[in-house]
Amino acid sequence: MEQWMHQIEQWVRQQPVEQLYAAFAVLVVTIAFFAILRLLKPAKSNTIVLAGLSGSGKTVLFYQLRDGSPHQGTVTSMEPNEGTFMLHSEMEKKGKLKPIHLVDVPGHSRLRPKLDEFLPHAAGLIFVVDALDFLPNCRAAAEYLYDILTKASIVKRKVAILILCNKTDKVTAHSKEFIRKQLEKEIDKLRTSRNALSTADIANEYTLGVPGEAFSFSQCRNKVTIADASGLTGEVSQVEQFIREHVKP
């Protein structure tokens, strides 16, 4: 062992100085590079995605969170709305809060593929449901929610999901408990029809729930919560709470 060390020392002494310096510099740079990478990687993403059927109020919610008012109204979105900003209600607060990157993905069925672009970076997903006009759209909403809950990018990264019942300022809006039960029932039915025989589930990469039991959101691998809000009047406190929970400052 000592002989070996001695031999190495001699060999090192014999190299020209510049080469030694160069080798050392390269080594330092590489180590620094890896150190920086490691520092940067666990930076948690700050993206929150707003998804839901067309007409459920996502764009209104987006502008409410950003500016505090939905301005002059909205029409069906043809493109996603993206923005990185501080929540409007937190503008006045002191202290360093991380700006959130909010994405509002159009709900029209023809634009569904756009959702897949944003999901891999999402820290949380808000699924907006129209509490006013819920029953006619229950099936479509459940199908969309089912598709989202079974996507690999959501399940593997355990993205948290908030089911938001929007338009609760109106008198005839349904309660969140009712909506939750209806969605669970519909998703249960979807489970049976989609998982019927094929072991290779075509579109959905994961299966939901426990076979044999009725589906409930608590069986999902990622956290699913449900809340109320009203985009038009500005009652978005529960939404902001959810956002702050998942975008850590």
Partner: protein, 628 residues
């Protein structure tokens, strides 16, 4: 008068509305416009008409894009008014607004003043035009294109007439007001002759949903109908003749092998002593494994960067100069896309689509729509025009082929089961596309998902149709409802559904006779079948080999079903079943043509002649193949 003028971003936020007219619009015309026109890649059309659902007013909508800033300008007005200055006004508004637009601002109150001024100017100009024409007393009815993509020229008289006319006013239209560069002098001479014969020409604008104009002394639609229907078939006699599903008559005939796959052992499924079909031989149920509907499709991802180069090299001559200048501009990154830049790239794309068997009309409309969405956009740095166009086209194709309603049939079947009624699917189509074959495949797939199926043989015309279905039913061991030949298919279908209720089958698959879309009595019979039985799903079966005829087939089918329907909400084609997909290698354009023209999603794809050859449409792979 204008009801409303809206400016909104493509993301959906309304930036400015014309606020003086306080009356709210009935219904939601702008949403309807976005959903049924702009998102369907029909943005090259000139106008859109909307009927408020609760029997309110009917509106016409016109729009303009500012692609660079991502803004949309929409003008709404009552349909009975034929305002002539709207296009001009939209263009002027777009110009002015782009000066004051700022992505951070959301309120533009000062635009009210500017708008009022622009409106006054536009109205004044229209008035002037009208007065000058009145004094001329020979209104130039121009025969020129109203806008990109209008195909009015295909009407019976080969002249293109300009768009709508002032209702009740006796002068002609105000096309000149639109500033589209028409030549008044030259057309004047010709028009005088026409003017005598047709007092107030009014034309069906291609974009109009219900095409009959109220004030129309000259209805071009009627002219089309009067045209002799000699076309393809004269009467029902055209129905037969296509070979029935082959059971080779002599055993000496060798089975034809299409590709290198090992031939199936026997194709003759007839049971001995089966002429009258009375002996119910106990045949083992056909079990050929899992239907391909349930198998995951493995899509190979290939890089397509080489294809771009081919397109470039295909153009001779002036291409080099164009390439250099476009390269410089793309590096500089400030080029604004003009029509002239887009035209060559779009032409190349259109040709490519047409070589993939997309109908010519559809390819044209698509290219126009993509052009409308790209014009005025700034090129990003280091991007070529062709790649921008390619990306835009890819997005557009993806959007069209993505279904806008759920295609989960099993879910619908379960829903119907809960309500205690059978789920009825009717297969319609022209002769020889594969309705009976694919009906059997769908039955096989449903059986694999534990759904009880019943067939109804409503093809009472073609010899062997009932036997064919009977054979399939026997192999699949499912009940079949048949009444033989020469019976009224609508009645047979009704009785079949009643029988299904009685023996609680979940699904009824109704086979109909093939018919050409021009055959009036047969289309009427089909319409009667659908009206009488109100099926849950009307599936149009189309073969992937069809070319430009796909457009004609689907539009005529839809039109006849709409016209001859007895209820206000006519049942139209709900879905498409694409057959013979294995016979086309990569010429998959028929799928695009059919989906574009009808708006219905492709629910199944038939890709072979055995029971398992039924797949779902893989949108991404089709788009990739189309643009390769």
């Amino acid at each position: 008068m204008l009801e409303q003028l809206l400016i909104f971003t493509r993301g959906g936020l309304i930036l400015w509305t014309y606020r003086e007219l306080g009356n709210a619009l009935k219904g939601s015309p702008v949403d309807a416009l976005i959903r049924s026109c702009l998102l369907e890649e029909r943005s090259a059309e000139t106008s859109f008409s909307y009927d408020a659902p609760a029997g309110g007013a009917t509106y016409t909508l016109k729009w303009a894009f500012h692609n660079d800033l991502g803004l949309v300008f929409v003008a709404v007005y009552q349909r009975i008014l034929h305002l002539l200055y709207v296009d001009e006004l939209l263009a002027a508004v777009r110009r002015e607004f782009s000066h004051i637009y700022d992505p951070k601002r959301t309120a533009y109150d000062e635009f009210d003043e500017i708008f009022r001024q622009l409106q006054k100017e536009a109205e004044a100009r229209a008035e002037e035009m009208r007065k000058s024409k009145q004094s001329n007393r020979a209104p130039p009815v121009a025969g020129k294109k109203q806008g990109p993509g209008q195909r009015a020229g295909s009407q019976g008289n080969g002249k293109k007439k300009g768009v709508k006319v002032g209702s009740g006013k006796d002068d002609g239209d105000g096309e000149s007001g639109k500033g589209r560069g028409l030549s008044n002098g030259s057309s004047n001479g010709q028009e005088n002759g026409i003017e005598e014969s047709s007092r107030v020409p009014s034309v069906v604008v291609k974009g109009n949903e219900n095409g009959t104009p109220e004030v129309g002394a000259f209805d071009v639609n009627k002219l089309q109908k009067l045209r002799p229907k000699g076309g393809k078939k004269s009467d029902a006699g055209g129905g037969g003749g296509k070979a029935s599903k082959a059971e080779p008559k002599k055993i000496l005939k060798k089975n034809r092998v299409w590709d290198d796959s090992p031939s199936k052992s026997r194709l003759d499924f007839t049971d001995p002593g089966d002429e009258k079909g009375d002996n119910i031989v106990d045949v083992v149920a056909a079990d050929q494994g899992e239907s391909m509907m349930d198998k995951e499709e493995i899509v190979s991802s290939e890089s397509e960067s080489e294809e771009d180069e081919e397109v470039e090299s295909a153009k001779p001559g002036t291409k080099k100069k164009g390439w250099f200048s476009s390269m410089f501009r793309s590096i500089a990154g400030n080029a604004v896309l003009l029509r002239s830049d887009l035209t060559p790239a779009l032409k190349a794309l259109k040709d490519r689509l047409m070589t993939k068997n997309v109908a010519e009309e559809i390819a044209e409309k698509l290219c126009e729509s993509v052009a409308a969405s790209l014009e005025g956009k700034k090129l990003g740095s280091f991007t070529r025009v062709s790649s921008t166009v390619q990306t835009a086209m890819e997005e557009a194709l993806l959007r069209i082929l993505t279904p806008k309603r759920s295609i989960d049939i099993l879910r619908d079947v379960h829903a119907a089961k809960e309500q205690g009624k059978p789920y009825v699917i009717v297969f319609v189509g022209v002769n020889g596309v594969g309705k009976s074959t694919n009906l059997a495949k769908v039955a096989y797939w449903l059986l694999q998902h534990n759904v009880s199926v019943m067939m109804a043989a409503c093809d009472t015309f073609r010899s062997g149709a009932v036997e064919q279905l009977r054979t399939h039913a026997r192999r699949l061991q499912i009940p079949i409802f048949e009444k033989g030949y020469e019976k009224d298919p609508a009645i047979v279908a009704r009785e079949a559904i009643q029988e299904a209720c009685r023996n609680s089958s979940d699904v009824v698959l109704v086979d109909t006779a093939g018919r050409m879309q021009d055959n009036e009595p047969l289309m009427r019979a089909l319409s009667k079948l659908i009206n009488l039985n109100n099926p849950d799903l009307v599936l149009f079966v189309g073969e992937a080999l069809v070319g430009n005829d796909a457009v004609d087939q689907l539009s005529k089918f839809n039109q006849k079903l709409a016209d001859l329907s007895t209820v206000p909400n006519a049942r139209l084609i709900d879905g498409i079943l694409l057959t013979k997909f294995d016979t086309i290698d990569d010429k998959v354009g028929a799928a695009l043509s059919m989906v574009y023209i009808s708006g219905a999603p492709v629910m199944f794809v038939g890709c072979g002649q055995s029971y398992t050859d039924l797949k779902k449409l893989n949108v991404k792979s089709i788009v990739k193949t189309l643009l390769k």
